[in-house]
């Protein structure tokens, strides 16, 4: 039987902390505020959307120290194991001198009510750690997960541009932190029992397989960006939880002969550059996927396995003809990703199986992926419609088309009739117009808080025209999804 320990270990405030007898659904924010009396981090929404609870976490990925902002309101306590945690209380130095991020916020009048401020300061501290000279786009992206209802953000953006100049020399990350964290890594299975049930955090795929064989009913926790809300909002209790975050073999992102293989536990942050290399459109999609905080923990596999009809990644991956590798103690099973989604809330995952990896086959000549996401707000919003269009155009002829939509049905769904209307035709205005007519009738979306049925239908149709413009007209191919000076006469 596997070796195990029941105490989580992590680095906090200069020391390795060991906690036993934890409740696995206790959030890091609750632990900070209620158990440690560190009330600097605030709860604004308890669902990872406002950023007032933002802290920095550091961990090792392939031996490299990663420092990322996280939403502590939906990070569950076991997920701290092996990592370091930094909060707003850790920024000022021993003498009380403010960190340049803090001083810049004071100087720029960046706080009004001050409630979002600790989270903003921590998000900016993450940016400061990366660069002392952030671009405007970097600043806006870093702040996308931090709401402020008072300032209008101008002074905060100003503070972000000032902070590196005030003092470029500060670091809250101890130089030996990577070493300290490496001592915390082991192959033992972490396990315990909380008030409502037992929990496991295995370190290897083999242990995971064994656990799932024994407990096929267990709830699997990847990045907890969704499960966290089952805890904080639905108030669910769990008889058995299995956390995957310690399994480094599930985090690999590699290019093989078959194509790009992404481990199920690869986060959006860690997979972004490889996916951007595969198809540039994925870079912009991931930039708008959640926020920096959500991308720190949100995983490619989690976004698939939870079967959400509005997850943004499945449409793009299905368009790219992704294959899904599921694993159990009995071995591997590979299916087309589109076949994984059976119906609302129903996926083709057998008892005891887990998502191991997604494989994107190497595309052929003339292949390009276009993705357009529509939402009420550009940043950190859930799509009303997300359209992914993978077209293979050779010599002006549409050789292949895979078009997939999120938000148009109970599951991510291909626009098969539209594909048929395109394949074999010349890629020109007439073809696109005809296909748009098909597309407008292909789905029967629903009306909900994210958009009406008519809007979804018309917008989906128009997105095909945007794809046409993407391929033909540089001026019209522009998108408003990023702030741009192209439209402004200052």
């Amino acid at each position: 039987m596997m070796q195990s320990r029941s105490t989580i270990r992590f680095w906090h405030r200069g020391a390795i902390r060991s906690l036993g007898n934890i409740d696995p659904i206790h959030t890091v924010l609750e632990w900070l505020r209620e158990d440690e009396g560190l009330t600097g981090s605030k709860e604004g929404c308890a669902e990872g959307d406002c950023g007032t609870c933002t802290a920095l976490m550091a961990w090792l990925e392939n031996g490299e120290l990663i420092v990322r902002p996280v939403n502590t309101c939906i990070v569950l306590l076991p997920m701290l194991d092996g990592s370091a945690l930094f909060t707003v209380e850790d920024l000022a130095d021993e003498s009380g001198t403010l960190h340049p991020v803090q001083q810049a916020m004071v100087d720029a009048h960046g706080s009004q009510c001050g409630f979002c401020t600790p989270g903003i300061v921590m998000a900016l501290a993450g940016l400061y750690h990366q660069t002392r000279e952030p671009s405007r786009q970097q600043i806006l992206d870093q702040l996308a997960g931090n709401l402020c209802r008072c300032t209008g953000y101008g002074p905060i953006v100003e503070a972000a541009t000032m902070m590196g100049r005030l003092d470029p020399t500060r670091s809250i990350i101890p130089t030996n932190l990577a070493d300290e964290l490496s001592f915390l890594q082991d192959d033992q299975c972490l396990q315990g029992s909380g008030p409502d049930g037992e929990w496991f955090a295995p370190a290897t795929i083999d242990d995971l397989s064994l656990l799932l064989e024994a407990h096929s009913d267990a709830t699997i926790v990847a990045g907890a960006t969704d499960v966290g809300l089952w805890v904080t909002k639905q108030l669910l209790t769990f008889e058995r939880l299995i956390f995957l975050h310690r399994i480094s073999d599930l985090r690999s992102v590699q290019t093989t002969d078959a194509g790009l293989e992404i481990g199920a536990m690869a986060t959006y942050a860690s997979a972004r550059s490889a996916l951007a290399g595969f198809a540039p459109a994925l870079d912009e999609l991931i930039r708008r996927f959640g926020s920096e905080q959500v991308r720190s923990f949100g995983t490619i596999g989690g976004n698939i396995a939870n079967g959400s009809p509005i997850g943004d990644m499945p449409p793009a991956l299905i368009a790219a003809n992704a294959q899904l590798r599921l694993r159990s103690a009995e071995g591997d099973r590979v299916i087309a990703l589109e076949d994984f989604f059976i119906d609302y809330g129903k996926q083709d995952r057998h008892p005891g199986e887990f998502v191991e990896a997604v494989v994107l086959p190497r595309p052929g000549t003339g292949w390009a992926l276009h993705v357009h996401k529509l939402s009420k707000r550009f940043d950190q919003d859930i799509s009303a419609v997300c359209g992914a269009f993978a077209l293979t155009i050779v010599d002006g002829l549409v050789r292949d088309a895979r078009i997939v939509f999120g938000g148009m049905a109970a599951i991510p769904r291909r626009a098969l009739a539209t594909e048929t209307a395109l394949i074999g035709e010349l890629w020109n205005e007439d073809t696109v117009w005809a296909a748009m007519g098909v597309l407008e009738r292909e789905f029967e979306p629903m009306t909900d808080q994210r958009g009406g049925a008519d809007y979804r239908r018309i917008a989906a149709r128009n997105l095909l025209w945007k794809v046409w413009l993407d391929t033909t007209d540089d001026a019209a191919a522009m998108s408003l999804s990023r702030q741009s000076s192209d439209f402004v006469d200052a």
Partner: protein
């Protein structure tokens, strides 16, 4: 200054080191940082939920109605009582006093009794040893409902004559015959959505039982006195047995004016019943389900105008969705009527206001307090006139502005004293290069590309004062201790708007001492009684004056004492920075205070202020409800993607009148923040109820407020250097809290311009409702395209 922030870091270059012109640090007109800025960034500023709770504190959660309108057939709470950690479960039957936490009408029960009136109405409270246990236990209630027909929309309320109070009318002249004869006449309808406050800190109260049945409540409230009254009423206690304290709020925006009372009263009820401290902190979803929002409003209009676009007569019907109870809806609807003119002279006008009762949350105060909805109506009317006559909307706006007599009197009979807006708008148009950019935008749109642009300049004229006249009063309490340090307290609350630092500046200026000597302190009903809400933009005006009056009283005693000490006349006592000089003899502030104490002088004073000059006949809606008007204007430019309805605000220019600013940095922050909040209201913030009356946009995951990238890349904000003489306010400053929100109407108008570019005739223009979400914009464009093809 203030809680020793300088121990934390380098002094703020704007406030320390450099002496003011008058030689003190931190007098008025200086850009002093927020009094808690260092604590905010250090995470050391305690909010209500951060205060360590007493031992055995109970944590509360509410059981909420799952119906919009129903009779409660039965409520079985046995499983709730039996759940892990539960100590008490209380319902309406457990209220010793009055089951009500309303501001006025007695119609906001803590817990529903026979009937529920909205989805999310509290039914009972669970007190448990931890918050999760309390929340989980609420799910175990078995409630049987007998559904009643629910009125959810303005349409349904009007059709069924369902109102929270009578229709109100404000009329000047008789517009009807003029409308009939006007050479141009237009009518139409504008629907305006509500808005959730989304203060980042949700509703929270901590109640602690005290001696003789008394209660102390720490809470996040803009109106401690009203919380006090409601707690006393619920517990059948005298007001004097209840103390309410507020150090700071994590945002308010009007959402913590009346709304905190119910939660404070529930916490106090539990504390009173159990003898243990009790804390309630709402989950965000519950907060949004239970608390009121900005009033959704419908405006119907019928306008007659001349060839130049000057309005001759106007008939307006405003219908506001008030929700299930009255709350402050009458005052809010009144203000919508008062601002139905915005900045324009309406020679003959009739404004009728319907206050619709629906089975939804009781809508409440929100920055602007009805004013924004009133202004949206008239700006739409002006915009339609402009397109009808093929005129630049700015020209039509200018032609209709209040001007010289007789075109200087509002429909309610108040003279618009200083007609500054024409000058201000001309100045702004010049600074923002409006005319040239307008041509550029037209040329851009003439290319008929995928992207379209819109540009709009809109003004704001906002009345400053509570229209409920008796609320225009304030108190303050100032102590000078024998070491010369000053304790400052007043009835206003700090929610981020910078009130505390502004009032501290006033006191520093009055005593002629550095602001570092002044300690601000939590608002408490035990220190300053009978206060008005921190609302109506007027808190600096009111509390600044009250604090100044307290400081002046002490200063007068000190002057008299110093004159006697030096055997001189009071006029011989000169107040210089941090010292006095009497006939060449100098004495530092600290020594002066010490000597005054030894000579047995009182170094403490209350201060009081009541706004002069206002006089208003509420029954007939006539008189001078406002002490003065605040003004501003904004130019917004937007780009719209016609294929998706997405848009960006490219550039905004603002010129805003804050009189002689008490603190320019704070005022600029209020202007920018208010503008972005207003832009959110009119663009992406959409409250979406389903057919059962459930709010489905009930958290930031579904209800989207602007984020950093939604702020325009170019935002030029300037304070209008008001040349004109105006009301005698505190150091001639003007209120700034609410007015800038309405500058964002320029964004809505600019989006409308971009959408209008798809129409080839005025009749083809599709007129947007608010919020102009990408969906609304796309559907309008599609509709205009179809109309243009037929």
């Amino acid at each position: 200054m203030l809680d020793r922030p300088d121990r934390l870091g380098a002094p703020d270059p704007a406030s320390a080191g450099l002496p003011d012109d008058d030689g003190i640090n931190g007098g008025v007109r200086r850009s002093i940082r927020h009094e808690s800025a260092h604590k905010h960034v250090a995470g050391s500023a305690p909010y209500t939920d951060d205060i360590p709770v007493p031992a055995n504190c109970l944590h509360l959660a509410l059981g909420l109605s799952q119906r919009s309108h129903a009779v409660i057939r039965s409520m079985d709470l046995s499983a709730v009582r039996a759940a892990r950690g539960v100590i008490a479960v209380l319902t309406a039957a457990d209220v010793p006093g009055v089951n009500d936490a309303s501001p006025i009408a007695g119609d906001d029960p803590l817990f529903a009794e026979e009937c529920v009136f909205f989805h999310g109405q509290p039914l009972f409270v669970v007190a448990a040893t931890d918050r999760r246990a309390a929340r989980q236990a609420t799910k175990l209630a078995k409630v049987e409902y007998e559904d009643r027909p629910a009125i959810l929309t303005i349409d349904e309320a009007l059709a069924q004559n369902s109102h929270v109070s009578d229709m109100k009318r404000l009329q000047r002249g008789d517009p009807m015959p003029i409308l009939a004869e006007a050479s141009h006449r237009l009518s139409g309808r504008l629907e305006i959505g509500g808005q959730d406050h989304l203060y980042l800190e949700g509703q929270v109260s901590l109640a602690m039982p005290g001696e003789d049945g008394g209660i102390t409540v720490l809470c996040s409230s803009q109106h401690p006195t009203e919380v006090q009254h409601n707690v006393a009423k619920v517990l059948a206690l005298p007001d004097a047995a209840v103390t309410v304290e507020v150090r700071r709020m994590g945002g308010g925006f009007g959402g913590k004016e009346t709304q905190p009372a119910i939660f404070a009263a529930i916490a106090a009820l539990v504390a009173s019943k159990t003898g243990r401290a009790a804390k309630i902190r709402l989950d965000r979803d519950d907060d949004m389900a239970i608390t009121g929002k900005r009033h959704e409003t419908r405006i119907d209009y019928d306008v007659g105008f001349d060839d130049r676009g000057r309005i001759l007569a106007l008939d307006v019907v405003q219908a506001l969705r008030c929700g299930y109870s009255l709350d402050l809806s009458n005052a809010i609807a009144d203000r919508a009527m008062f601002h139905a003119d915005n900045a324009y002279y309406l020679p003959a006008v009739r404004i009728r206001s319907y206050r619709c009762r629906t089975h939804t949350v009781s809508n409440t105060a929100f920055r602007g307090f009805g004013g924004p909805q009133g202004m949206m109506g008239i700006e739409r009317i002006i915009h339609r006139i402009a397109h009808h006559l093929n005129l630049d909307p700015l020209a039509v706006r200018n032609a209709n502005l209040y001007a010289q007599a007789p075109r200087n009197v509002t429909p309610y009979g108040m003279e618009v004293g200083e007609a500054v807006l024409l000058r201000l708008m001309q100045e702004l148009a010049a600074r923002a290069d409006y005319a040239k950019r307008n041509k550029t935008v037209d040329a851009f749109n003439a290319k008929c590309g995928v992207f379209r642009k819109g540009l709009a300049l809109t003004p704001v004229k906002f009345g400053i004062s509570f229209t409920t006249t008796h609320l225009n009063q304030a108190g303050a309490l100032v102590h000078v201790y024998t070491d010369g340090s000053v304790h400052l307290n007043h009835g206003g609350t700090e929610m981020g708007q910078g009130l505390f630092v502004k009032v501290a500046q006033v006191v520093a200026e009055t005593f002629c001492i550095d602001i570092e000597r002044i300690m601000v302190s939590a608002t408490s009903t035990g220190k300053v009684p009978n206060t008005s809400a921190t609302a109506a933009s007027s808190s600096s005006d009111l509390n600044g004056m009250a604090a100044r009056s307290a400081a002046l009283a002490i200063r007068a005693r000190l002057t008299k004492f110093a004159a006697e000490l030096y055997q001189a006349e009071p006029d011989d006592v000169q107040w210089l920075p941090n010292r006095i000089v009497v006939r060449g003899e100098e004495m530092g502030w600290d020594m002066l205070i010490k000597q005054a104490y030894l000579a047995r002088n009182s170094l403490s004073s209350t201060g009081y202020y009541a706004t002069p000059a206002i006089q208003y006949d509420a029954a007939n809606m006539r008189g001078r409800p406002f002490y003065y008007f605040a003004h501003g204007a904004a130019v917004s430019e937007v780009t719209v993607d016609s294929l998706t309805g997405e848009y960006r605000i490219d550039r905004v220019d603002i010129l805003h009148d804050v009189g002689k600013s008490l603190n320019p940095a704070i005022d600029l922050g209020q202007i920018e923040g208010g503008f972005i909040q207003g832009a959110g209201w009119l663009t992406m913030e959409e409250l979406w109820w389903d057919r059962q009356g459930r709010l489905r946009t009930h958290a930031p995951s579904t209800y989207k407020i602007p984020t950093a990238s939604d702020r325009p890349a170019i935002m030029n904000i300037d304070l209008w250097d008001a040349a004109g003489d105006h009301a005698e306010t505190i150091f001639r400053s003007k209120a700034v809290g609410e007015p800038p929100l309405m500058l964002a109407i320029s964004v809505f108008e600019a989006l409308q311009e971009a959408v209008a570019s798809f129409a080839s005739t005025p009749e083809q223009i599709v007129w947007l409702n608010a919020p102009a979400t990408p969906e609304a914009v796309l559907m309008a464009i599609e509709s205009a395209k179809r109309a243009a093809m037929t």
